[in-house]
Amino acid sequence: MYTDSRQVRLSIDAADSRPLYQQVADGIRELVASGQLAVGAALPSVRQLAADLSVNMNTIATAYHELQNDGLLEVRHGSGAFVASTMSNQTEAELLSPLRRALTALLIADWPQTKILALVKQQLRQIRSGST
């Protein structure tokens, strides 16, 4: 079996409304958050990941660039991309902003508070365990 060494996986969904680069960036963020990608772990080259996901190389380059700006990724010329830190260099306000936006949308959709809390817990569990 060769699958064991390949358990760290990333997926993109053509039916997802997010742009492909965003899906890739979010996927890598989740892998770092769940501990599946440790600090110093080497990421595939832009060409390799683009070929494996059948996407344009610019898509992966944009995703890596976004993660680099976030401080999650370090790109060393000639060596490739590595996980730089599990700590994002965004401010607390920047981190909270998307959460507030999502919570507001759920409240507008008339979701009860208990359901929202349960959902947040469930999502947190899934991210930590690395499942989708």
């Binding site: 060769y2 390949r6 997926s11 494996d52 059948s54 190389m57």
Partner: protein, 349 residues
């Protein structure tokens, strides 16, 4: 130089070793049973109607290399130039694979029009977030042995040439090893391509597809390694051939030739067993249509295209596969072939 009979024997072994390959390729459309034509689901009546004609056409196209080679081989043998058979074999290796690739693509395209149902589809593509490298697919001791063998042989050849000035033409001393070394470098490039080769993994039956892709990659990487060892042996024995008397050298060459033939047969058998295992693995995963975010059918006109942002060397266009001229491997391959032509001309003249 080998005697003419050796080239005839080589060609005979080549012909015989292809029989099993022909049978295997002939069975390919029916591997999933009579409700499938390759990966296209077809009805129960398919092989009684238009499917039978389609299958016959596929089988006939498989025989194209034989139709090309037999008159050429007969002419070469009749005109007393059996050594050119070695080049014919090399050209046939490429022709057989290209012809098979084209025949499969053509037959599948025709069968899709007669498909009984749409194959299962998924909107998700999965990729491993692991960097693939040549190291991961190589055996360190084997690499050391091959590298040291080449270094020792080169040292012996230089010493031999230095200690017998004026006796040998440098092309005679270094020609054959340099040609083998160049083939060796080509095989390393091929292995690099195999390691970086990718196939989209669908979101369904992911583990089965991963297993299949990884097994295929390891199989081809190992096959390239065996071929590299095959081309290292002549580099290693050439200094010995030069050092001994003419009659002993002839004997040594004959021993090497017979060993190489036996080795080829063993290798061919190993390849067939491995292929059987690969087919069994591939059959565990049903055919699944994956999305094409790259929009290859619009990007890639047949047979050539120039797409610098596309990561693949071969793109699947609407009318068949298209070679992406912007891919770095195309430039490397073209430079390699040009280098090979120059080397052959230099050695020949």
């Amino acid at each position: 130089m080998l005697p003419g009979n050796a080239y005839l024997a080589l060609y005979a072994v080549f012909l015989v070793s292809r029989v099993n390959g022909c049978i295997r390729r002939g069975r390919q459309p029916l591997l999933r049973g009579r409700q499938w034509f390759f990966n296209v689901p077809v009805g129960m009546e398919f092989y009684r109607g238009s499917g039978a004609r389609l299958l016959r056409g596929y089988w006939l196209r498989m025989l194209v290399p034989f139709a090309v080679e037999l008159p050429v081989a007969a002419y070469l043998i009749a005109s007393g130039r059996p050594s050119v058979l070695a080049w014919l074999i090399l050209a046939l290796c490429a022709l057989i694979h290209l012809n098979h690739h084209y025949s499969v693509a053509f037959a599948v395209r025709q069968a899709r029009r007669l498909a009984s149902a749409e194959p299962q589809a998924t909107s998700t593509i999965v990729a491993p977030v692991v960097r693939r490298s040549l190291n991961e697919y190589s055996s360190r001791p084997a690499e050391w042995i091959v590298g040291l063998s080449i270094a020792i042989a080169t040292g012996c050849l230089i010493h031999h040439y230095d200690t017998s000035p004026g006796r040998y033409d440098p092309r005679f001393v270094f020609g054959a090893p340099v040609l083998c070394l160049y083939v060796h470098i080509g095989l390393i490039l091929l292995k690099r391509y195999v390691v970086h080769w990718s196939a989209p993994i669908p979101g369904a039956y992911t583990s089965e597809y991963f297993e299949c892709v990884e097994r295929t990659r390891r199989f081809y990487a190992r096959m390239v390694d065996w071929c590299r060892i095959f081309f290292t042996v002549p580099i290693l024995i050439w200094p010995a051939v030069l050092a001994v008397s003419a009659s002993s050298a002839q004997l040594l060459l004959q021993v090497w030739f017979l060993s190489a033939m036996s080795w080829s047969i063993v290798l061919a058998l190993w390849v067939e067993f491995q292929r059987k295992a690969l087919v069994a693995t591939a059959l565990e995963a049903p055919p699944i249509v994956v999305p094409d975010p790259l929009n290859q059918s619009n990007l890639a006109p047949w047979p050539l295209c120039f797409q610098p942002a596309a990561p693949a060397m071969i793109l699947k266009g609407a009318r068949g596969n298209s070679l992406n001229f912007a891919h770095v491997n195309v430039a490397i391959g073209a430079a390699y072939l040009a280098g090979m032509s120059v080397l052959v001309v230099l050695l020949h003249s």
